[in-house]
């Protein structure tokens, strides 16, 4: 069997105040896969993603592309996995779009010319090459999300992790984002509450509940099993 891109075994983590956020999570991601992480607020999805590149470090084993997530490997691992955070406003911290997208390549020691080339290529992939000179502050939510994705793509990762990528996006924006992500070759992990989005994008879903993975399977299957869909008719008949 092929080696998984990510393999997590029995991951546990508690915050400083003693609150247990992850209570033994097992997870794997194979090449070319797109996995949805579903589950209620506070179930540990975002905490889990922050472990994948060592932003948080809990107990248990995590391997990314065959490397254990440990201090000595962090630089290499952060090159392999790109995380698009929920809050684009925090992610786009440089004064212009181009400088922001070139941040990753420059940190990797690329020359200015190479960094600009990569940044422009990444902006072109997400369809934002015309915004290169603009200030991130002046972009719409959908544009910000695209630029944030470009900033991660410019570091040429093998895995993309996206935390709630559809927040603040209008339906056409969500559709465009799904189309963009489908066209990207990387393996993906998508944390989302947006079922149509997960259905369109992901081949598999993992359901988080109280810091544990309580089920996995196809998106449709998991959604049905947990009644994880806002159903207006059901709500009305109940009321």
């Amino acid at each position: 069997m092929k080696r998984p891109l990510i393999e997590v075994t029995n991951l546990r983590f508690s915050y400083g105040d003693g609150r247990a956020a992850l209570k033994g999570v097992d997870f794997r991601l194979d090449e070319g896969e797109c996995v949805a992480l579903l589950g209620p607020n506070g179930s540990g999805k975002t905490t889990f993603v922050a472990h994948l590149n060592g932003l948080l470090q809990g107990e248990g084993a995590i391997e990314v592309c065959g490397m254990p997530v440990a201090r000595r490997n962090l630089a290499a691992i952060r090159r392999k996995i790109g995380i698009v955070f929920q809050d684009s406003e925090s992610q786009l911290f440089m004064p212009t779009v181009l400088e922001d997208v070139a941040f990753g390549p420059l940190q990797r020691g690329l020359s200015r010319e190479q960094a600009v080339d990569r940044a422009m290529a990444a902006l072109k992939t997400v369809g934002m090459e015309d915004a290169a000179g603009r200030a991130p502050y002046h972009l719409s939510a959908g544009e910000q999300k695209r630029v944030a994705i470009a900033g991660v793509l410019a570091t040429e990762p093998e895995i993309l992790a996206l935390d709630e990528p559809t927040t603040f996006l209008d339906p056409p924006g969500q559709r465009a984002l799904a189309e963009l992500l489908l066209a990207l070759p990387q393996a993906k992990i998508v944390v989302t509450h947006n079922i149509p989005f997960a259905l369109a994008l992901c081949s598999r879903a993992v359901f988080f509940e109280g810091g544990l993975v309580s089920a996995e399977g196809s998106v449709a299957d998991v959604v049905r099993r947990f009644a994880w869909q806002f159903d207006l008719k059901a709500a009305q008949s109940r009321g």
Partner: protein
């Protein structure tokens, strides 16, 4: 909001905008020093300085009336002081203070309105100001709008929940305002942590490398020295006449 206007002005494309920031910073400092130290012939020299500033604003296609109005922000404060001086029997000093502070503010405005703040800061970095301080300054500017907006939302939300705009002291209103500030503080702190995470996730390991490279070309040198010399010459000449 007025600073957004400034930001928009600074992204123009005229030859004046395109000068290296240092080519504008150096003559600005020369002008400010010449103005601050001027005593005899101050009125004439201020007029000359204003003429230079107007020429710069014209070249940069910045609306002159708007720029003059924008620099008038300093006036209320200055005029109070001028009045104080006058009441204390020193009218001349009050006038000089008002004139100097207004023309100085206008000169600074002209440079800031024609140079995007990040490049201005980069220019200052090459003038040996600690880069850490400038990076912090850049972050202040970057998040100024975002967090101010959050602050406005919060005071609106408080108003919507019935916290009437009270001006008389009341312990509960005071504590409510402190609570709002505390929440804003916590949110800002959390945002900073988010930014730090995003930087780490994209390979940050100690130093922020930046893209833009400033090039001080012959025309920058020519502009900087010509304007600086003109300012000094004007100052000397006008002092002699006066």
């Amino acid at each position: 909001m007025h600073h957004i206007v400034l930001d928009r002005w600074s992204r123009g494309g005229t030859a004046f905008h395109q000068l290296d920031p240092r080519a504008k910073i150096v003559p600005l400092l020369v002008l400010l020093i010449a103005l601050a130290t001027a005593q005899r012939g101050l009125a004439a020299f201020s007029c000359a300085a204003l003429a230079l500033i107007v020429a710069a604003l014209l070249t940069a296609r910045i609306p002159i009336a708007a720029a003059f109005a924008r620099a008038a922000i300093v006036l209320p404060f200055t005029l109070v002081f001028a009045l104080t001086c006058w009441l204390s029997g020193d009218l001349a000093r009050g006038e000089a203070m008002a004139v100097k502070s207004y023309v100085s503010a206008l000169a600074v405005l002209t440079v800031v309105a024609t140079t995007p703040l990040p490049s201005l800061l980069r220019g200052l970095e090459l003038l040996r100001i600690p880069s850490f301080l400038l990076t912090v300054t850049q972050f202040v500017y970057r998040y100024l709008f975002v967090i101010s907006e959050e602050g406005q939302h919060m005071s609106k939300a408080a108003a919507a929940r019935g916290a009437a705009e009270r001006h008389w002291f009341s312990p509960s209103a005071f504590r409510a305002a402190a609570g709002a500030l505390g929440v804003l503080f916590a949110r800002s702190y959390g945002r900073a942590a988010g930014i730090h995470d995003a930087m780490l996730a994209r390979g940050f390991h100690g130093h922020i490398h930046t893209l833009s490279r400033l090039r001080f070309r012959a025309r920058d040198a020519a502009f900087a020295s010509a304007v600086s010399l003109a300012v000094v010459a004007l100052r000397l000449a006008l002092e002699r006449i006066a």
